[in-house]
């Protein structure tokens, strides 16, 4: 079976297993509530701090994009660590299927979760928090959401590959999904940060996703935000390539020293 076949098979099996464990309505409820409450938290804070640069609109738009990091990035990076935790990584490694393809398949449901989360967050932005989206260019918004989720998946796969080697990948997954709140311009302008932190932020796809989304809701078309979209796409591709190499490397190392059994 080729990689595409493995991805499809893995995605179907993972999705079935997931909904065996958690009913669809509960899974959706989790996405609906967590994306709403995390946005609500920062809206309340923005309203309180009375910073003219950190308006409710500013944090709401930032958190629409951040919601994808909180769902897709975290879940994708945590996959290999979870398999190791529940003891199924070892049997997975004994199959002829390519591990990268297996985990890419598992990521698909989490990619869908990210898309649902960002769409819902946009709905909250307009209907709950009263953000005016009449100027928004929805084609640009859709492209940003798709490219952000693509690049975050590549980034997440790269982080997740570490789970083959280390005891767990969930620590790094947690740090990366939290750190986006601080360094990617989600809740305050990047200019507030020291220059070296801004340099680190430029390696995070979320930074470009947030910046592009701010433009798109103000009416920017795809060409206007082309720089951000191109950078994000290149970053996503680079992270996918790196993650492929890292999966191979860590898989080999894990097989040699048996660290895939280590938890």
């Amino acid at each position: 079976m080729g990689c595409i076949g493995v991805v499809i098979s893995s995605a179907v099996t993972y999705t079935r297993n997931k909904f065996q464990m958690v009913p669809l309505w509960l899974w959706l409820l989790q996405i609906v509530c967590t994306s709403f409450f995390s946005m609500f938290f920062f809206v309340i804070l923005a309203d309180y701090v009375s910073n003219p640069e950190v308006t409710v609109r500013y944090v709401v738009i930032g958190n629409v994009v951040q919601s994808m990091a909180a769902t897709t990035l975290y879940a994708v990076s945590d996959l290999p660590g979870t398999e190791k935790h529940v003891g199924t990584l070892s049997p997975l490694m004994q199959t002829p299927a390519n591990l990268f393809c297996v985990f890419l398949g598992m990521s698909i449901l989490n990619i869908v979760a990210g898309l649902i989360s960002s769409t819902l967050s946009l709905g909250y932005a307009q209907f709950v928090f009263g953000i005016d989206l009449t100027m928004a260019n929805f084609l640009s918004v859709a492209v940003i959401v798709l490219l952000t989720v693509f690049s975050l998946t590549g980034f997440g796969m790269m982080i997740g590959s570490v789970g083959l080697r280390l005891r767990t990948s969930s620590i790094i997954a947690n740090i990366v999904s939290y750190i986006g709140l601080l360094i990617c311009g989600v809740n305050f302008p990047l200019s507030y940060l020291p220059e070296w932190v801004q340099a680190v932020a430029s390696a995070f796809p979320l930074t470009y996703g947030v910046d592009a989304m701010r433009g798109a809701v103000d009416g920017a078309n795809i060409l206007d935000i082309g720089g951000d979209l191109l950078t994000m796409t290149i970053l996503g591709l680079v992270y996918f390539i790196i993650s492929l190499v890292m999966f191979r490397m860590f898989e080999k190392l894990a097989r040699n020293n048996g660290s895939y059994e280590m938890f």
Partner: protein, 261 residues
Amino acid sequence: MNTKAVRASFKQQLIQFTADPQWIIPSIVAPFLFTAVMLMMYPEKSDGIVLQAILGGGVLGMWGNTLFASSFTLSYDRMNGTLDNILMSPTQLFDVIVGRSLWNTFIGLLNMLLVYIFAKLVFSAPITIADPVAFVVILTVTLLSLASIGLLFALAFVLSRRSYILTSILEYPIYVLSGAVVPITMLPEWSQPISMVLAPAWGVEALRASAIPGYETVFGFGMVGNALVCVGLMIVYIALAWFFMKKIVKNVIETGSFTRY
């Protein structure tokens, strides 16, 4: 209550905390990042603002600890098959969870201290506390009140394997409704009655009163009054958790549902 079991559970939680680095996230990393985000969002960093951010980051860390150690550990017990062993032993599950929660309280104090040092060093923040002794005492009470909410959450984890969803849903509302991030008066009116039945909300008000000279508490009653209401509500939570834990444990043993993962 079997104090020997509580002590043993406390010790075991300590060992697991040091052995399993996952706990670093709710204990150290998340509160630091959230405190930093809050401080960055404020245009000015006056005494009261910094204290507000530290309280927010601190409560966030404490609540994260509570969720992880009082509730998620039960999830791991269920997953690893050790929940069966705990329920089969003569030790009450309630005592085991209380021991774990007490460890969280201790770590929460350490966490708040680290957030304080972080704010002081990184942001050169001016922080003065009017009554440091009262502050530490009330902080401990507030931490214990959060741990008592953790006991209530633990009930759900014994009852169902799907309870982790409940905790991820309620993570942010507790931060907001406790008034640690922004004062309760800034929240929507409909949410204020919910805050009033949350023990940490009273604890946080008492903390503010102990730290800021002349602070008028939202609910009235002053510093001591707020601390006492916090203790009263905490006792109610513990009593409810103890009562329902007995019923739920009896039920899951009879149905064998605790073995289902």
